[in-house]
């Protein structure tokens, strides 16, 4: 795990994509499977005539939340405390991890079961707790699989979408004692069910994420298909729920809007199997909520990028992204991959994630499917400018940009370059179809046109008027 993370700081998106692209068959499967999920999303979305109004309402609710967050945070805190829930505040990842550790130590617990929480991935909680002698077992099936493999999730909704069932069979054989070469999803899931049921029944502490927290009532909602968040929380002696401060919504009725949008966008289901509303603790079993900032207030202050905080983590932008589908989640070397991750990560560390806003074709498909109408592709474009100005642009890009800038600013240089390019593609394709040209990787160069538009126009431009 550690070496994995060290690797990720030295390799950028392009290099990591290249690794993923070595297995062409797998890339094609990954691409087609995610596109299939995108199509399921389209199918169910088109059944709702009010879909666009729902997106607009969700966007406006979230914009209201971000504009009045100071008030909503305090309202939520007061109502949660009145409900008998403990509320903690963490300024950054380190404080969040320390708080969780402290709560577990106070409860005398050394083993914890955790349901999906991208925030704890962002904070590196599992590694931190492991260093402090606390064992964490992820209970979402996909997360358990990547945990056994010593990897991070590659997709926020489908954590092990990059893995083939045979590899999962090998992992289960090694760690769970299933027969070798067992690769049937039904049988593997059954084995995981038995394994994790034992975990649920024996772990005294459970941590869950939070999908939505309601300021008006102090309750929070956790959505799963597997039922793992509930199994963990209802069998433990202490329930810790970690949430980013942007997860708030004003009133309970707003859940109607978000629960209709979330799973339709994510997987094409009408709703998750379980949408559980935690308001008051069970008798004698404390609930602790940790409200985490970790850069969110900084993003709130960036006018061009604050809308990224509207995100409800459905993953639709990943499923539709032509780059994500062909480069895989690990190529983004951050907890939240894909288009949304690429506009969130530079806020946390502009230098480390300088490559991510460039990992896009700016086609805009992400913005079109986003259920809360985040202008993702526009923010990607804006981040590029911020990153270049700050001097963090990837080196290859900077050199190319300088040549491009000189060429485009001089008509003579532009015409000569165009002619030269067409000549090279026609007469010496090997000069560009080689390893030195990153564009040629995984692609073929196009057929060159016989003349430029400028040359064509000179020949044909006046003809229409003559007639």
């Amino acid at each position: 795990m550690q070496s994995e993370m060290e690797n990720s700081t030295t390799k950028d998106h392009a290099e990591l994509s290249e690794e993923f692209n070595r297995d062409e068959e797998r890339v094609n499967w990954h691409d087609e499977t995610l596109w299939w999920i995108r199509q399921k999303r389209d199918k169910i979305v088109h059944q709702l005539p009010e879909w666009e109004q729902l997106r607009e309402a969700a966007s406006q609710i979230k914009l209201n939340v971000l504009s009045d967050l100071h008030n909503y945070l305090q309202q939520f805190e007061a109502n949660a405390i009145a409900n008998g829930v403990h509320v903690h505040w963490a300024a950054d990842a380190a404080e969040h991890n320390q708080l969780v550790h402290q709560l577990l130590t106070n409860a005398g617990v050394t083993q914890m079961v955790k349901s999906k929480s991208m925030l704890t991935e962002e904070c590196g909680l599992n590694d931190y707790l492991a260093e402090h002698g606390i064992e964490v077992i992820d209970s979402d099936l996909g997360e358990r699989i990547v945990q056994l493999a010593g990897e991070a999730p590659s997709h926020i909704v489908l954590p092990c979408i990059h893995k083939k069932k045979e590899e999962i069979g090998d992992l289960f054989h090694k760690y769970l004692g299933t027969p070798s070469n067992m690769a049937d999803p039904q049988m593997l899931t059954e084995a995981a069910r038995e394994h994790l049921r034992e975990i649920f029944l024996t772990r005294r502490a459970a941590l869950t994420g939070v999908n939505f927290a309601v300021a008006e009532t102090g309750e929070f909602v956790v959505c799963t298909n597997e039922g793992n968040a509930d199994m963990g929380a209802h069998l433990a002696d202490i329930h810790i729920a970690s949430m980013g401060i942007e997860k708030l919504i004003p009133e309970r009725k707003h859940l109607g809007v978000f629960l209709r949008l979330l799973t339709r966008s994510a997987t094409g289901q009408p709703i998750t199997t379980y949408s559980s509303h935690f308001k008051k603790p069970r008798s004698g079993v404390p609930i602790h909520i940790i409200l985490v900032d970790n850069g969110r207030t900084v993003q709130l202050g960036r006018e061009d990028f604050r809308n990224s905080l509207k995100c409800i983590r459905c993953g639709a932008c990943m499923n539709t992204c032509p780059v994500y589908r062909r480069s895989g989640g690990h190529s983004y070397h951050t907890a939240v991959a894909g288009p949304i991750g690429s506009i969130l990560a530079p806020n946390l560390d502009m230098k480390k994630y300088a490559d991510l806003p460039f990992a896009s074709t700016l086609c805009g498909s992400c913005s079109n499917v986003c259920p809360v109408k985040i202008d993702i592709h526009e923010q990607l474009y804006k981040w590029r400018q911020v990153i270049v100005k700050a001097g963090y642009a990837p080196a290859g890009k900077t050199a190319g940009m300088q040549v491009m800038s000189k060429t485009l600013s001089s008509p003579t240089a532009y015409h000569i370059a165009g002619k030269a390019g067409r000549w090279v593609l026609k007469h010496a394709p090997f000069a560009v179809n080689n390893k030195l040209n990153p564009w040629y990787k995984q692609r073929d160069m196009p057929e060159p046109p016989s003349e430029s538009f400028g040359e064509w126009y000179k020949k044909n431009g006046g003809k229409k008027n003559e007639q």
């Binding site: 597997e226 039922g227 509930d230 209802h234 199997t273 603790p281 069970r282 900084v298 709130l300 604050r306």
Partner: protein, 196 residues
Amino acid sequence: MSSREKILAAVAQNQPAKLQLPDVNLFETGTEGSLENFIKVLSAIGGKAYSINDLSEIDSIITDDIGIRGRVVNLVEGLNLTNAEEIITDTVVHHLHNVEMAVVKASLGVAENGAVWVTEENMNQRVLPFICQHLAVVVHQKDLVPTMHDAYKQIDQMPGYNYGSFIAGPSKTADIEQSLVIGAHGPRSMIVFVLK
């Protein structure tokens, strides 16, 4: 300065000028939920619905049609089931792990997504509808609503809850190569009895 004060101060400084909330009440339909849609959607997500005229029809469906054998916990008032426990006497909730079927009441059902709303009051122990191997739910047909907006409108008018969950079908996962598998950690099947 505590982290709470630090975060709140940063939020106050960085949040933009206040924007208004949209009116979401216009999404409420105020109509009844369609039984036909509810059954159709629930079936599509792996659940099963029975439309019944009387609670007495349930016993034979569970024992004969579905063939449930083993520990059954029935928490539905007015429903008599052969060999079922009607109160939970386990002092430790973990002992519920051998429950074959739990039968609970839902206060409403949602036609657009096949979900039923079950509160702690009706499940006694929160873990019950998750830890059982099979889940059966009874809901009145008059309590079906078309959409989630109507559902929350109804919930507003009901007594408060400590915990509640929308449950839509059996537990499931598609984490392994996107192959749908029913029965992840929770129930392997879900039946909803819609009472006329």
